[in-house]
């Protein structure tokens, strides 16, 4: 139902090629006045002759106007109050405090300036270099290194594919699955008996059960000294694969990992992804590392002992990984020179309330991790160990911790800052 073509539209063959398909992507720009004039005129002319494009334009105009009229959602009460984001809240470092003092009442300014001077003095006495470089903690990459290293320790069970489910407190609202294909390795228990476990654990062989029509044995792993249940593992009879694993921390079930499907009989794939340039060195090389200025404990709290160190020399900023195990869990300790750049941390890492002596940040999930600064270094601990183990290990490791006068001082500062915030909000309410 097109009108007779206008002669000026047919001046050159080039214009004949301007079809609906050419014009269609320009419709939004035309609506928004963002189409330059020669093209806009051409499109307007086309619209006169083309009911299809005109209808499309109207539809897009309608979508745009609906979008513009979407109701404004009310902010849930308390979403941005300090208490609501307490776990996420980062105390600003001293330098920041000094800057935020600008524009406050003179008395407060004087107090804060004095405060900053004292903080600086305390830091200088403590030998803490406030100028030391900030390093980004690339958590996803560290996680990948940790998992690769953990995999390397296990014996290989070829699997065509697997599909397992993870569940942990504070994890996804609904249980979620993680599918991986072409998996070539998985931890394998010692089929002769639980001799690989350290003295830390007592293992009782439980009943024979069935998962996915596979015969499996349940093991109950308890902490030897207390008898506390730590882990229940269902082990596939035929392959030794852990079909299901439940981890307990402080008496609560903290984590469940279970296979949804498992193909042990299909053609086993070759390794499809080559892990990063990891050099796992023997503990014997620890001396060389120490000489080079690295300080690594051979033991961590809760009976974790050094198994290997791994040097990521080709990756700037993440040079050293120490791998510890208590026979059941694996913990990696990454040491980077410099202070953690808190602004670059993933925002889902929350400040660890239990570690009151330092500013540490944790992520939950698998593996769980904790990041903190210690004497010119950034320590990142990643592991599948239960949270109570991780916290105990972190507590025993060095950290930049305030000496007691400055700790008191820090609390005082906190109050001053809170008071200044209250002042600011009071003046904001009353313009």
């Amino acid at each position: 139902m097109q009108r007779p073509p206008r002669t000026w539209l047919q001046v050159t063959p080039v214009n004949e090629r301007h079809t609906c398909a050419d014009h269609e992507p320009e419709l939004s720009a035309l609506l928004d006045g963002q189409l330059a004039e020669p093209a806009a005129a051409r499109l307007r002319a086309h619209l006169v002759d083309c009911p299809g494009c005109l209808a499309e334009l109207e539809g897009i105009r309608r979508a745009r106007s609906l979008l513009r009229s979407l109701p404004v959602r009310a902010v849930p009460a308390g979403l941005f109050t300090q208490s609501a984001v307490e776990g996420l809240y980062v105390s600003p470092p001293p330098r920041r405090i000094q800057r935020s003092a600008m524009g406050l009442r003179p008395l407060l300014v004087a107090m804060l300036v004095a405060a900053v001077v004292v903080v600086t003095a305390v830091f200088a006495l403590g030998g803490i270099d406030s100028q030391s470089a900030l390093v980004a903690v690339d958590v996803p990459r560290l996680v990948a290194h940790h998992l690769d290293a953990a995999d390397d320790r296990g014996e290989v069970v070829p699997m065509a594919s697997e599909r397992l489910v993870l569940e942990w407190p504070g994890g996804p609202a609904e249980p979620a699955t993680v599918s991986r294909s072409a998996v070539v390795s998985a931890p394998q228990p010692d089929v002769e008996g639980p001799t690989v476990l350290s003295d830390k654990y007592e293992v009782a062989v439980g009943s024979t059960e069935q998962i996915m029509d596979r015969r499996c044995v349940r093991l109950d792993v308890r902490i030897a000294t207390t008898g506390e249940l730590r882990e229940q593992v269902w082990i596939d009879d035929a392959s030794g694969v852990f079909l299901r694993r439940e981890t307990y921390s402080s008496g609560e079930r903290a984590r469940t990992v279970a296979y949804l499907s498992l193909d042990l009989d299909g053609p086993s794939p070759q390794a499809t992804s080559t892990p990063g340039p990891i050099t796992v060195s023997s503990p014997a090389q620890l001396g060389a590392l120490r000489t080079a200025g690295w300080s690594l404990p051979t033991e961590l709290a809760r009976g974790y002992t050094l198994e290997a160190t791994s040097v990521h020399s080709s990756t700037p900023g993440m040079p050293l990984q120490a791998i510890y195990s208590d026979g059941l869990y694996t913990v990696s300790l990454f040491v980077q020179p410099g202070q953690p750049d808190l602004s670059a941390l993933p925002t889902d890492m929350a400040q660890v309330a239990e570690l009151t002596d330092r500013r540490a940040y944790a992520m939950s999930g698998l593996p769980a991790g904790i990041v903190w600064g210690s004497e010119h270094h950034t320590l990142t601990m990643l592991g599948d160990a239960p949270r109570d183990d991780l916290l105990a290990i972190a507590t025993a490791l060095p950290a930049d911790r305030p000496t007691s006068p400055s700790a008191r001082f820090g609390r005082g500062m906190r109050r001053v800052i809170d008071a200044s915030r209250a002042t600011i909000s009071a003046t904001t309410v009353d313009p």
Partner: protein, 185 residues
Amino acid sequence: MRQRQDPDPRPSWDDVADRYGATIYNMAYRLTGNPDDAADLAQDVFVRVYRNLDRYQPGTFDGWLYRITKNLFLDGIRRSRRFRMEPLAQENWNEPACPQPGPADLIERRLLESGLEEGLGRLAPNFRLAVVLCDVEGLTYDEVAAVTGWPLGTVRSRIHRGRKGLKAYLDAAAAEDLAAGDARE
């Protein structure tokens, strides 16, 4: 276009909460499509903003805010892609011999009050981001380009494809309603 005001060069926590809380939350809501994820994303933005307040160079505070929101939103999308999280049907959970109570039933996602919100949620993240910035937040094409770092041509095309996707969704929903009406007769 939504009214925006020039903030102090370096606002405090409360300033940000008071002046930008609603903007942050609403943008987060439009990007994520549900209150829970919106609250999470908005709080993430808020924390990121606060952590970096001392580095903020006086300029367009809004643009900075949008950039942070965009980055965290796309980071979240990338993260969820990397782990390929999928909802798990209850019957798939392989319980050991003595069956324990399974995970809570998957809650039927309630229908949003308007098909538009659902349609918005179905757009690819980049198209969603484009129309949220342009049409919901009222940014110009140039501002969208500045916030996202996309070339202007990409901005133009993504805004258009986002709107087109919404239109297609609304058309399909309308056709479905019509068909349902016919079937009842």
